[in-house]
Symmetry: D2
Subunit: 319 residues, 4 copies
C-alpha cells in the first residue's frame, strides 16, 4: 500500500485535525502518501481530494473542527455511488481509507469494506458513544467546555441564589451529562441510562434550600427532555423559579485538550499501522490506556455503556 | 465619615468583587471602616451586613459574581422600607453607601439620597448601558465570553459550512452584539439601535455563498428578536437551514478580565474618595481613560449611545 | 469510625480541593464527620484543624491550590512529633486520616500507620510519578497548562521562524514533557527515562529547516537539564539562535480540568470507603478507568513507568 | 491608488492578523487590492509578496502571531536596499504601504516616506509603548495572559504561603507590570518609570506577614532588573525564601482578546482610509475611544507615558 485516503464524517469533534495530522505523518514516516478527501463521503464519491504533505498538516494539531470538512451524504446509501467512489479512489491509486467520525461514519466504512475496499474506523465524536473504546476523540474537550460554562453560570447562580437547569448534548449517551455533573458538582444529573425521578430531583432542591445552599444546578442530557420541559415540571410542583441554559453548539468546537490531542495522535497513527498490515473492517480504540483494534461490526451489535458508578458517586457527593 | 456601606444590586457582573475589594481597601487606607451589605437593598432594609476587613476581600479580585449577593427588592419601592433601612444604617454608624450595579440600582440609590442618605453609584452591568461612562464593569468580560463562544461555534460552522445565528444579551443596548460582531468577524450584526434590514442580511448570506465562504455567523441582540424568530424569517425567504445558539447565562459569569479588574478597582476607589469628600448623589464613570463623576440623575434623563461607527465598520469588513 | 481527618501535603496540585470536597461529602453521606487539618503534617502535630461541613466545601471543586494549605514539616521525621500528633487526633476523636499528596506525603502516612494510626493515601501531584495509578490528581490540568503555553509560544515561534526550548516540570518523571510534547507537536522531547541524544535533536532541527518548517519546539524535562544548558549545547554545534522559556510555577495552579475533578472525586470518595471498612496503609489509584487500592508501601519499592510508546510515537510524528 | 501593500515587522503581537484582515477588507470594500509582504522589510526589499483576497484573510481574526511573518532586517538601514524595495513595489503597481508594528517598524516606514513612498503606521506591540495612542494592538491580550498566569501562581502561593516575584515584559515601559499588578492584586509593582524602593517592598512584605496574609506577589518589569536579582536583594535583607517566575514568551502569543480585535480592526481600516486620501507619514492611534492620526515623526520626539495614577492606586489598594 503506497497511497491511502483519509476523511472526516458526521458531526465535527475537537481533535479531528490532530487525527488527520497523525495519519499523514505516520504514513509519511512509512513512505506512504495520504490524500485528504473533502466533505466526507460526498468527496469520496466525487473524488474531491488533495495530497496532504507534512507541511499541510503543520499548525493544525491545536485547531478545532476539521480541515477536511464534513457533510451528510444521503447518496452514499446507494451502492452505485459507493462503487463510483471506489472507482475514483482506484484511479488515484488509493488502496485504503481511514474514516474519522461517529457511528454513522462507521456504517459507511462498513459498506465500503463489503465491496472490497479497505477501511479503518477512528472514533471521533463528543458524545463518547462508540462501543469498544473507553473514550472517543473530542469527548474530553467538550466535557471541559461544558464544565467551564457551568463554572460561569454558577458565579451567577451563587450571586442570585438561583436554580439553573443546563441542557447538554447527548441523545442516547449520558456521558457528557454524567461527567460534567460530577466535575461541576451539580445537584442532580439526568441521563438517558437511568430512570427519570422527579421526586428525587425535588427532594434534593428542598434539602439544599433547607441548609441554605446558595444555588442548585441540574444537568439534563438533551436525549431525556429539553431543559424547558424539566423547568416547567419542577416549577409546577414547587413554584421555584428556574432559569435554563441550552449550551448548544459551543460544545462541539474549540481547541482540543491535551488528552484529545494525544488520543487522536495515537488512534490516527494506529489506524495507519493496521492499513499497512493489510487489515480492513477494523475499528481502533483505547482500552486501559492502550490502543487496540476490533471488528468494525461490533459497534452495530453492542452498545456503549456509560460508567454508572459515576452516577452513583455524583448522587452521594451532592447530598 | 468613619464607616460606610457597600452593596451590589441587580444582575451580577464580573468585576463586582474587584470593586468591593477596592472600596474596602481604599477606605481602609483612609482609616474608614466598610460594612458589606448582603443581598442588595433587601439587606439594606434589614441591616443584614458584616464588617469587611482587608483579609475578607483577599483572593476575590479574580472571582466572578458577587460575594455580597444580589437580589430583587420590590419592597424598596416603598418609602417606609427605605426609611427603615436608613435607620438600620444610622444605628450601625454608617453614613454613606456605595451602590454597585446597573440603572435599577441607581434608582434605588437616588431615592435614598432624596431622604438625605449619601450614596455614590458605581456602574456594573455586562450590558454597558449606563450613560456617562465609556464602559461599565463586566462588559469587557462578557464580551470576551461571547467572542470565545463564537470562536468555538465557528469551528463547527466552518467544518460543516453552516450558517449560525447567535443570540447575545442586550435588551436596549446593542453594545455586546456590536463589539462581539466586529471582534468575531460576523457577517451580520443586528442591534436595537439600527433598523432591522432582512434584505441586507440575506444579500450578505448570498454574497458569501457566491464566493464559496465556508460559513456565516449572524449575531442578534436579544432586544431585537429571538434567534429562533430570525432563523424562521431567513429560512422562509431562502430555504437555508440555519442553526441557532442562545448564549444565555454564561455571559454573566466568569473570572473578570484584566480590563474589568482595573476598571472596577479605579471606580470603586474613586467612589470612596467622593464619599469621604462629603459628596452624594454622584455616579462615577470612566471617560477618555480617566475616572470622573457626574450627577446620578443624569442616567435617568440621558441615554447610553452605542458607538455606531463600529456598526458601519463591521458592515464594511464583512463584505 | 465516626470522625476522620484529611490533610494535603507536599507541592500543591489542581484538584486537591475537589478531593477534599469528595472526602467530606462521602463521609457525611455515611454520617461520618471530617476534620480538615491545616498546613499538612505541621497541623497534624499541632492539632490545627476544623470541622468541615457540607457548606465549607461548597464552591471549591473548581479552585486550584488547596484550601487546607500545605507546608514542609521536617519535624515530622521525628517519632515524638508523630506520636504527639496522633495524641491530638485521639483527643479529638479522630480515628483515621486521609493524606492527599505525593510520595513524600505517603512516607509520612506510612510512618503513622506503623504507629497504629490508620491512613489512606490519595495521589495528587502534577508530576504523575506515583506508581500504582495510571494518573495522579493534577497531572491533566498541568498538562493542559503546559500545552496552552506552548500553543502561545508557537504563535510567536511561527511568526518569527524561531527555535524554542521549553522547560517543563518533572525531576524523575518525564510524563509532563512526554504528553505535552505529543499534544503540542514538538519536534523533540527530552525526558529522564530515555538517553539524551544531541545528534538526533540537531538532525531534526536541520530536517525541519530543509523543508522550510516555520519553527521548531523542543521540550525538556527539568530533570534532564536546564533549558539554558541545552540551548548552549545546540548553539555551539549549529550556531542557531535559540530562545528559551522556563514555564515554572504556572504549571501548578489553575482551575482543575474536568478529568482531574472527576478523578479527585472518585479517589477521595474511595479513600473514605476504605477507612470506613477499617482498612489502613492503603493507597488508592485508578487503573483501567477503575478505582482500586494497594499497599501503600508499594510506592517505595516500585517505580512509576512513563508510557514510552508515546515517546516513540512522538518521534515518528515529528519527522 | 488601486493597489497597496501591508507588512508586519518587529516583535509579533496578538491582533496583527486582525489588523491585516481589516486592511484587506476595508481596501477591498473600496475596490483597492492589497498585497501581503512577507517577513517585514526583508520581503519589501525582495518583493516577496502575494495578493490577499477576502478568502485569504478568512478565519485569521482570532489567530495569534502574524500570517505575514516578521523578521529583523539590518539591511534596511542602507538606502540602496530601501530604494530597491520601492522599485519592486512600483513594478508591482503598489503605491502605498501599511506598516503594522512597533517603534522600530515606524522608523523604517519613516525612511521610506523620505524617499517619497507613502506609508502609514499601525501600532502593534504588547509593550503599549508607542506615544500618541492610548493603546497598542496586543497589549490587552498580553495583559490578560500575564494576569491569568499570576492567578495560577497565586493558587500555589496561597497554598504554600509563599512570596513570588514575577518578571513581565517591558524594557522602557512599565504598562504591562502596572496594569497586571493592579489587576492581579500584587503587593508591589516595580516599573522603570518610578524610583526603585527596596525599603517599601520589604515593608509591604512584613506588613502582610504581620496580618497573616497568605502570600505575597511582586511584579517586576524586565527593564528594571531580572526577578532573580530582586529575589537575592530581598532575601539578603529579610531571609525570606522567594520563588521567581519569568513569564517570557508566552506573553506574546495567544488568540487576541475582543478588545485587541476591535482595536486592530479599527486601526487597520483607518490606515487604509488615510492612504486612499493620499496621506503619508501618518501614524494611526486611538485616543478617547476614537481613531485619529498624527505625524509619524512624533513617536521619535515624544515618549509614551504610562498612567502613573494606576501606580498610586495599586499602592493604596495593596496596603
Amino acid at each position: 500500500m503506497k497511497r491511502i485516503g483519509v476523511l472526516t464524517s458526521g458531526g465535527d469533534a475537537p481533535g479531528m485535525n490532530a487525527a488527520i495530522r497523525a495519519v499523514v505523518r505516520k504514513a509519511n514516516y512509512h513512505d506512504v502518501e495520504v490524500y485528504g478527501i473533502y466533505h466526507g463521503y460526498e468527496g469520496f464519491i466525487q473524488g474531491k481530494m488533495e495530497l496532504l504533505d507534512l507541511g499541510s498538516v503543520g499548525g493544525i494539531i491545536q485547531r478545532g473542527g476539521t480541515k477536511l470538512f464534513s457533510s451528510r451524504c444521503p447518496k452514499f446509501m446507494e451502492e452505485k455511488y459507493r462503487l463510483q467512489g471506489i472507482e475514483k479512489m482506484k484511479e488515484a491509486g488509493i488502496d485504503g481509507l481511514i474514516v474519522i467520525g461517529g457511528d454513522g461514519s462507521y456504517r459507511g466504512a462498513y459498506e465500503l469494506t463489503k465491496l472490497g475496499f479497505k477501511c479503518i474506523g477512528v472514533p471521533a465524536t463528543i458524545d463518547n458513544d462508540i462501543p469498544g473504546t473507553d473514550f472517543t476523540i473530542g469527548f474530553d474537550t467538550a466535557l471541559n467546555t461544558v464544565v467551564n460554562a457551568i463554572d460561569k453560570i454558577r458565579d451567577t447562580a451563587t450571586s442570585h441564589e438561583n436554580t439553573f437547569i443546563i441542557e447538554v448534548m447527548g441523545r442516547d449517551a449520558g456521558d457528557l451529562a454524567l461527567w460534567s455533573g460530577l466535575a461541576a458538582g451539580a445537584e442532580s444529573v439526568i441521563i438517558p441510562e437511568e430512570p427519570f425521578d422527579l421526586d428525587d430531583i425535588i427532594a434534593r432542591l428542598k434539602r439544599g434550600e433547607a441548609r441554605k445552599k446558595k444555588h442548585s444546578i441540574i444537568i439534563v442530557a438533551e436525549g431525556v427532555m429539553p431543559a424547558s420541559q424539566l423547568a416547567d415540571m419542577i416549577k409546577e410542583r414547587t413554584g421555584i423559579d428556574i432559569r435554563i441554559t441550552v449550551l448548544g453548539h459551543i460544545q462541539r468546537g474549540g481547541s482540543p485538550t491535551a488528552f484529545d490531542r494525544v488520543l487522536a495522535s495515537r488512534l490516527g497513527a494506529y489506524a495507519v499501522e493496521l492499513l499497512l498490515e493489510g487489515k480492513t473492517c477494523r475499528a481502533v480504540g483505547i482500552k486501559n490506556q492502550e490502543v487496540y483494534d476490533y471488528d468494525l461490526q461490533e459497534i452495530f451489535t453492542t452498545k456503549h455503556q456509560a460508567d454508572i458508578s459515576l452516577y452513583t458517586l455524583s448522587k452521594e457527593l451532592s447530598i
